[in-house]
Symmetry: C2
């Protein structure tokens, strides 16, 4: 009866409007109706990516699109750089290593971002790098890398393609693919894009298309040229996830209703600041510094003296509040508070209230209400800036 | 306002119960709820495949699962046989050739099946075949290959793996994977399985697992060993299509309500016979012989004297009846009447009635009602056999 409050990094809650859009009658993927749906929807996704390039749709998880970015643009034996600041950067390394690339790993401690200068220094001794891969928003640590600055470094210090995994970013964080100079930008449906899992979206720069055209990949399902060819006809090479595309159209409605992607990412900034202020007011430590804090997910250290697994299980059982635990060596040390996609300041107030209730159950020493108050202050201040209602 | 009557080979109509199941609240793919859903649902899919092996789920279209079957079990340069009886057999050839396999193509005229003896003769001069690939149900021609017999031939005349594409078969046609000796059996969600596109299902024999364990594929997303490892924990290696799995559970409900997969495939047999009898009564030619006619889709030749494109456009515009045209060199010569998944004898009567109405509009010479009557006879006779209601 009590609804689960899913505050995970994804899959994330689905808006009712999107659920209903996905329950429309099935249509053929070779029909005029489909072509219209596809073309109109893809145009509307472009501002979310900050690109004029075509948006390609793979009927698959984000992992497949990341692999597609790799196998279409580089070849086994070639040298690449992977900037890894957490579990999903390491995941990218695994894909590249399995494919037989020579991977130069720019590795940061979990909880830190990669800075401009670090990348400049790292690239200096490397002369034959074909691509630089980076995670935009690292879901395991709640870090956002400074993509705009890193893109400029790559352009100024190499001929490499700059390939960005923004699976947990796009839709919730600002992305200016063309302006910043991203060559391949990838996202998934199930995070800030407010859809169920099963659809990957990516866009490719003109520079990257030239490289891809010369590549001799043996991939069939992940062959991006084939997706490009079919996109010109308003279709996909094989049967696409039709209902998810119907849902994506409704997602575009919602973002446009909010005032466009800039407003949507602004909301995510507000939610991030609400969570961070609340934790500071509760004297609960955050994993990351404010400077590189993700707008879509916050990693929170275990409140002092509590057993994390017990606390999280308690929140879920008693209050239906479902946070994600830490990954890898951060397991037991942090939990992750997802605030992306179909999530609003009211949801943040609710989750923090319930977190506080849970802390009281464990007789944790704090001033009840302090977290909620701090979050309210951020929210009210943002409203005052945003819309002069009085 | 008027609903489209989608009589395509897929995507096919989605049952209301399945739509609603897919609109359930999102859950984490790393939660206990998910593990329970996954384990229970996969158990219930096994009888549909006729296997005791684990069912693996790829969050992707059927093409990806076909490619997974290829890249996990054979290596570039190796010799394989592809039995192709139509467009989707040729599609399989493309996947294999792009991957760098040496393909021996057993090719049949479109509209014919591959017989036991033909395969025996074809295999005779070949001594180093690693795998034999075949399309179970060829969507482009409405042919069903005699998989049981072909499987026996492969076992008796080679050590090769027998890999079957049943994308438009499983759920609507009988499959006894273990009993017949199929090594990899692949299907998709959007055909007889009554789901939207975006999920591929496959099962692997013990013999094939041994081959896969020794394979050194560089595929990451399509790495079947990784799916097997995670399946043991009741999960998938990356984010699965959670809502489609919720829908799949409802599909299992429906099939079980009908009395199990044997009853469901029996209904498809009846619908096939209804369509074929109707066309015979209308003196409209069928592409295939009765012996190898598909239970899920029927290819019908253009009624004499009609322009096919005009007739099909008319049916869609005036009666909202949507058939699929022919593929490749059969374009303009046949149309395809899909009767798979969420489709019932009543739907066949409806579609044939509307086909007849359309024929009248074109002053086609026939006895109005003759097609419907023939279909009714098949239906009534099947009901008498099935349930003694009087």
């Amino acid at each position: 009866m009590y609804p689960t409050i899913l505050r995970h990094p994804g899959p994330t809650p689905i808006p009712k409007k999107v659920e209903l859009a996905m329950a429309q009658s099935m249509i053929s993927h070779r029909s005029e109706e489909f072509v219209k749906l596809y073309r109109e929807t893809m145009e509307r996704v472009k501002p979310i990516f900050g690109t004029k390039q075509e948006i390609l749709l793979l009927p698959s998880g984000g992992t497949a699109a990341l692999e597609a970015a790799v196998v279409n643009s580089v070849s086994p034996g070639e040298e690449i750089v992977v900037i890894t600041v957490g579990a999903f950067g390491d995941y990218f390394v695994s894909i590249c290593e399995k494919y037989g690339l020579k991977v130069h790993k720019l590795e940061k401690n979990w909880g830190e971002a990669c800075t401009e200068n670090e990348l400049i220094e790292f690239l200096k001794p490397l002369s034959n790098i074909k691509a630089v891969f980076v995670t935009h928003n690292e879901t395991s640590t709640g870090i956002i890398n400074p993509i705009k600055q890193l893109a400029r470094v790559v352009q100024e210090h190499s001929d490499a393609l700059f390939i960005v995994d923004s699976v947990s970013g796009i839709g919730g964080v600002s992305a200016r693919m063309d302006e910043w100079g991203i060559d391949i930008l990838v996202t998934g449906s199930q995070k800030a894009m407010m859809l169920p899992p099963g659809l990957a979206l990516l866009a490719v720069s003109e520079k990257a298309w030239k490289v891809i055209e010369a590549n001799r990949s043996t991939a069939y399902y992940l062959n991006l040229l084939s997706y490009r060819d079919w996109a010109e006809k308003g279709m996909t090479p094989n049967t696409p996830a039709v209902s998810l595309i119907m849902g994506l159209s409704a997602v575009c409605d919602l973002i446009e209703e909010e005032g466009g992607i800039a407003k949507t990412t602004e909301r995510h900034e507000v939610m991030k600041n609400m969570v961070r202020s609340a934790m500071k007011a509760l004297s609960i430590d955050l994993l990351t510094s404010d400077e590189f804090a993700s707008p879509t997910i916050t990693a929170i250290r275990t409140p002092e003296g509590l057993d994390l697994a017990t606390y999280l299980a308690h929140l879920k059982k008693k209050y239906q509040l479902d946070f994600a635990g830490g990954l890898g060596h951060l397991q037991g040390k942090i939990f992750r508070f997802g605030h992306m996609g179909y999530c609003f300041p009211s949801d943040i107030l609710q989750a923090i209230s319930l977190m506080e209730a849970g802390l009281q159950d464990f007789a944790y020493s704090f001033e009840p209400g302090a977290g909620v108050k701090a979050a309210q202050d951020v929210y009210l201040s943002s409203l005052r800036k945003r819309t002069p209602v009085f």
